[in-house]
Every structure is written in C-alpha cells, then in structure tokens.
C-alpha cells in the first residue's frame, strides 16, 4: 500500500515535471500561456495599419481567453513599434523573437517595413501571419513559415482590372506611383492587362509628394478614359481627385487598400462630389457601422475607451481568428512546426470579417483572395458593394 502510494506520487510528480518540460520545448509556450508577438506602427500615421489592427487582434484573444484559451493556454499579445520603417521592423521582430521569446507572430502593417523583416522572420522559422501588409514579396515566393490574410498587391491589381471590366469600362487608364510600393502594384496590373488582352489607353505617373496633377488629368482626359485605376497613396490620390473635379473629368476611379477608408478620403479630397465615382477595395466585407460587427464594436469600445470601431480593427479580428483556428488545429502538444502545418492546412475558413473564405496551402501562402468593393456616396454612408474572388491561375 505504502509502495503503491509512493509509486503513484512519483508518477504524478514525473507527469507534472514532464508536462511543462514538453511545453517549454517551444519558446513562448508554457502550460497555461502562449506568447504571441505583434509588430507594426504604434505611432505616426501608419498606426492605422499597426496599432488599430493589433487592437482587433487583442479583442479576439480576450474572447478566446474568456472561454478558457486554446487547449487550456491563454493567449498573450506582445506589441512592438516598427514605426512603419524597414529598419524599425527588423529591430522589432528581432526583439520579439530573441528577447521576448514569442512563440509566433501576427503583424505587419506597412508593406515596405514587413518586406524588410521577411528575411529575419524566415531565418528564425517563427510562424508569422501577416494581417495588413500587401506587398507580394512578403509571401511570394512563399517562405515556409510566413502566411498572409491580407489581400496582396497582385490580387488587388487583378481585382481592380476585373472591376473596371465588370462595370463596362472600355477605355481603362492607369495613374500610379513608381516607388517600391507603387511598382509592387503596377507590374502585376500590367500583367493583368496583358492576360486579359486589354491595353491601357493612358499610363500616367504621379510622385508621392505631388501638389499638382493637372498635367496628368489633362492627358487622361485627352485619352478619353472612362475608368482610371488609381495606384496612389491617399495624399497624391486626393490631389488627383481634386484636380479631376477641377477639370470636370469624371470617369470611374478605382482605388485599392492603400485608400481603405472612403469617409476619411472624402474629407481629404474636400470637394463636394469629388469622390462620387470613387470605388476602393476593402479586405473586410463589413463597414464599421454594420450591425453584423456589433459584437466587435462593443468589444473595442469596452477595451479601448474613446476608440470607435474601424475597418483596421476588423482586419485584426479576422486575422486573429485564423491564427486561433490554426493554434487549435495544431493540438495541445504545440510546436512551431505543427502551427506552420496547421496554417498551411487552413481551408475555406470563414472569419467574422474577411471578404471571403481563407484558404492557405503548402504552395500558396496568400490566403485571402476575395477583396470587397466599397464606396461612399457623397454625404452618405460607406457601403460594401460586392466581393471579387480572384483566381491567379
């Protein structure tokens, strides 16, 4: 009897000792906690794609934790500011991986910054789920451990052309920036034109700091364009739309996720009716005022007093749900390899926010290929029009 008790106690002690040891094999994982790192801009104008998206991630983690966590482990989010800067992003991921010892990463706001951090993340073999950066180079060619729930620039460029054709445009023009952000969109767009057998009627360039785009508008007007694909940041795009209104040039204007908030953009353009023909892409299928996202609105307002739900929060909500699903599928004996395999196996997973189902594979880590189209009627609300599933095959 005594011997049995002693043996039981020994076995119990051994089990207790072994369980945390197994968990401790994976950095950032303990018996009751999984530490997840996030990087993006917490300060400066890029905070929309960083801090706000992270807030969306955090409310999902809170919900999961309130229900007991993933296989009994609570999720902890550790944030690092990359200031939207390539060097800042490399420093941020290094700190998260080697100093904070996170198990996995969910993050990436500004494309150029995330692209710069790719090499470091790939080398570390830490799983990364990108939540907002759209640069193709982040996921193409695929790094074994990097996946994305953001619509990438190639997907958006194909969707922009598809949208113009669906709207019956016959004379499609392009106005673009040719910095690395612009080229990442411009080159796939030209490939999309080629694959559809369509030739742009005009192809104009605008510098990111442009204060006057009269010459570009006049050339597009002379080309009689009935649709213009806009590959510009919000500021030059606003100058371009102001000048278009000034010169009574009124084609369909087709934006992308660089201009993800049509209400803010309407204010920046500042000309009544200046954005009447402007359509843009959203990664999510709901606007913040849609009753379908009431639950998340309440969660944001409760967790971050003074904040109002934004589309950027919704990017984070959807992305975090994908990560949580993969963590569940990876099982209780969590390793980074298992999480990577689970991410690659996500199929037709519907989040509460994204435009379409999330599907990843071993060969293609661009998991979100269903951009939604949104438009703000002058003086009216922003509406989601439809979703354009993109096939790149």
């Amino acid at each position: 009897m005594r011997l049995n008790s002693f043996a039981s106690a020994m076995v119990g002690t051994l089990l207790l000792a072994v369980a945390p040891a197994a968990a401790a094999d994976a950095p950032g994982v303990t018996a009751d906690k999984i530490r997840i790192g996030s990087f993006g801009a917490l300060t400066g104008p890029g905070y929309l794609y960083g801090k706000l998206v992270m807030n969306g991630v955090e409310i999902v983690f809170d919900e999961v934790n309130a229900k007991g966590g993933v296989h009994g482990r609570k999720l902890e989010l550790v944030r690092e500011d990359d200031r939207c800067d390539p060097a800042g992003a490399i420093g941020a991921v290094k700190k998260l991986i080697y100093q904070d010892q996170v198990f996995a990463l969910i993050g990436g706001g500004c494309s150029n910054a995330t692209f710069a951090a790719r090499e470091e993340v790939e080398k570390s073999k830490v799983p990364l789920l990108v939540f907002a950066s759209v640069h193709d180079g982040i996921t193409t060619p695929p790094a074994p451990n990097i996946f994305s729930t953001a619509t990438t620039s190639t997907i958006e460029s194909y969707a922009q052309l598809e949208f113009a054709l669906k709207r019956g445009a016959k004379r499609i023009a392009v106005v673009s920036m040719r910095d690395s952000w612009g080229r990442a969109r411009y080159e796939p767009l030209m490939a999309a034109f080629k694959s559809k057998g369509v030739k742009p009627v005009a192809d104009e360039e605008v510098s990111p700091d442009a204060n006057d785009t009269t010459a570009q508008v006049l050339r597009l007007k002379a080309a009689n364009a009935d649709a213009v694909i806009v590959l510009l940041y919000p500021k030059p795009a606003a100058v371009f739309l102001r000048d278009s209104a000034k010169l009574a040039f009124k084609p369909i204007m087709i934006g992308q996720t660089g201009i993800a908030d049509p209400a803010a953009f309407e204010e920046q353009v500042g000309v009544p009716g200046g954005t009447a023909n402007f359509y843009t892409i959203s990664m999510v299928r709901y606007t913040p005022d849609d009753p379908a996202v009431d639950k998340w609105r309440k969660a944001i307002e409760a967790k971050f007093p003074g904040d109002r739900l934004s589309v950027f929060n919704l990017f984070g909500v959807g992305s975090a749900q994908v990560l949580v699903e993969a963590l569940k599928n990876a099982g209780p004996d969590l390793t980074r390899e298992k999480l990577i395999a689970a991410l690659a196996s996500i199929k037709n997973f519907e989040t509460d926010t994204h435009g379409g189902p999330i599907t990843c594979s071993e060969a293609d880590h661009r998991c979100h290929k269903s951009p939604a189209w949104i438009r703000k009627e002058p003086g009216g609300p922003t509406k989601v029009l439809d979703v354009t599933p993109v096939s790149l095959n």
């Binding site: 040719r178 009269t214 050339r219 919000p234 500021k235 102001r242 010169l247 803010a264 000309v271």
Partner: protein, 292 residues
C-alpha cells in the same frame, strides 16, 4: 487646346513658386543668408489658414489677412529668437540656425495639427466648372489663385518703391555699411526682411492651400522649387525670382503634358542647369555680369 490648359496651369503654379522665391530672395538680399526654414514657414502658415478658415469657420478673406498678420509676427519672432543673437556669427552658423528652425517648425506643426488626419484638406475657393473660351479653358479656381498671387506681387513692389521701410530695405541690401552711415537701423531692416519674407510665404500658403493638401512635410519640396526659381533669377533679383518661378511652373506643366508625367519633376531642373550654364549669375542679375 492642350497647350493653353498646360500654360495656364503652369503660370498658376509658377506664380506660387514665384512668391516662395520672392521670400527667399528678400531674406538673402538683406542678410546674405538662404533661409532653409522658408518652406516650413509656408507650411505653418497653411495650417494657420486652415485653423482660421476651416476650424473657426472665418471667411476666406479674413483667414488670408489673419494668416498674413501671423506670418509677419512669426518672421519678427524668427529674427529675434533665431538670428539676432547670431548677428555676429559666421554664415555657416546662420545657415545652420535656419535648418534648425525648419525642424522646430515641423515638429511644432506635428504637435498641433499632426493628430487630426494624415493630410488636411482646404476647401476650394470656387466650385465653378471650367469655362471654355474658344480654344482656351479657363479654370476659375486657377484664375482666382493667379490673380491673388499677382496682387501680392504688386503690393510687394509698391511697398519696396513707395514706402520708407521698403526704401530702407533696398538701401541696406545695396550697401549695408553706407546705410548704417546715413542712420538706417540695419538691425531693424534685417528684422523687417525676415518679417516680410515670412509674410509673403504666408500669402503664398493661403493661395496654395485650396489647390493642394496640408501636411507637415510639405515645406521642403516647395522650398526646393522656390529656391530653384530664385537661383534662375539670380538669387538677389526680385523680378528674376518672379520670372524664375513662372519658368519653373510652366516647364514643369508642359513637360508633364507633352513628354510624360514622369518628366515633370526633373524637367525644370534640367532647364535650370541649362540657364546656369549660359548665365551663371541668373537670368536677370545683370549687375554681376562683367566683361573682362
């Protein structure tokens, strides 16, 4: 038809570059310093105009007068705080002071206006659609801005030619020692130069704001364009600054329209290089051209 559109557009932008160039030339003539903070003075004035017109809902004319007055005051303060204490310092120190001031102004603008949005929008002066007069397309917005810029230039020329302060500034610019000998308070003239330079930057900002957007980093690019215009004009010639500004604006616009939009940024600088090769002292700085 395209030519007339581009020409009018180039003249409008060029008139604004000319105002920026005038401010740079005035300070340079009086003090021998290139004010590298000139673009930031313009940027701050743009935000002040936004606060008065959009924030406080004051009429555009009142916002213009208010901004110009504040611009003048900022110029006086600039002289008192940043330059007067360095009156006896070498030129490098003075230039560094202007660079430092540009960072202070940019930081201040970020602190006050930075959190409102990425870019602030100033409402257009008129909503009227373009008017077609035969082959000529008149854009009311551009017409108002060009007329405003011309009015500022005329007022400035009148100040220089007709007022005592203007004449004292000219005398000091021509020969500071002689001006001092005849009793002109040259320190006050320097202060006036900074103040008038800043005032013209403020006027340019209020005229430019409805055409573009306001953001804290906008100053440097505009300074570069204005400086280029000033260099073309000879750096000390006021009519040269006006001519240089209009030349830069028109070349930029025509290059964008007839060559390609990618040529817009580089074309004016190619022309400037060509001008400087032919006339190293600028288009209108005849005084320095000496035959040997």
């Amino acid at each position: 038809m395209l030519f007339s559109y581009l020409l009018v557009s180039g003249i409008t932008t060029g008139a604004l570059y000319a105002l920026i160039a005038l401010g740079i030339v005035i300070v340079n003539k009086a003090s021998g310093v290139i004010n590298f903070a000139h673009g930031e003075l313009l940027m701050v004035a743009g935000f002040v105009a936004w606060t008065l017109h959009v924030g406080l809902q004051l009429p555009y004319g009142v916002a213009l007068l208010g901004t110009v007055a504040i611009g003048f005051a900022v110029g006086v303060l600039t002289d008192r705080i940043a330059f007067r204490p360095l009156a006896n310092a070498d030129l490098v120190s003075l230039v560094l002071a202007t660079v430092g001031l540009s960072f202070i102004l940019k930081g201040t603008a970020r602190l006050i206006w930075g959190g409102k949005a990425d870019y602030l929008s100033f409402p257009p002066l008129t909503q009227a659609e373009p008017i077609l007069l035969g082959p000529l397309m008149i854009i009311p917005q551009q017409l108002v801005v060009t007329a405003g810029a011309l009015a500022v230039m005329i007022a400035f020329a009148a100040f220089f030619r007709l007022t005592t302060a203007g004449k004292m500034m000219q005398a000091t610019a021509d020969n500071a020692k002689a001006a001092k000998l005849v009793g002109i308070r040259t320190d006050r003239v320097y202060m006036m130069a900074f103040a008038v330079g800043s005032l013209i930057a403020a006027a340019a900002a209020v005229l430019m704001a409805p055409l573009t957007l306001l953001y804290p980093d906008m100053g440097f690019l505009l300074f570069v364009k204005g400086f280029a215009a000033a260099v073309v004009g000879g750096l000390t010639s006021l009519p040269g600054a006006v001519l240089g500004g209009i030349l830069v604006g028109v070349v930029e616009s025509l290059a964008g329209g007839y060559i390609h939009s990618s040529a817009m940024e580089v074309a004016p600088f190619l022309v400037i290089m060509a001008v400087l090769i032919v006339r190293p002292t600028g288009l209108l700085d005849f005084a320095k051209v000496r035959r040997v």
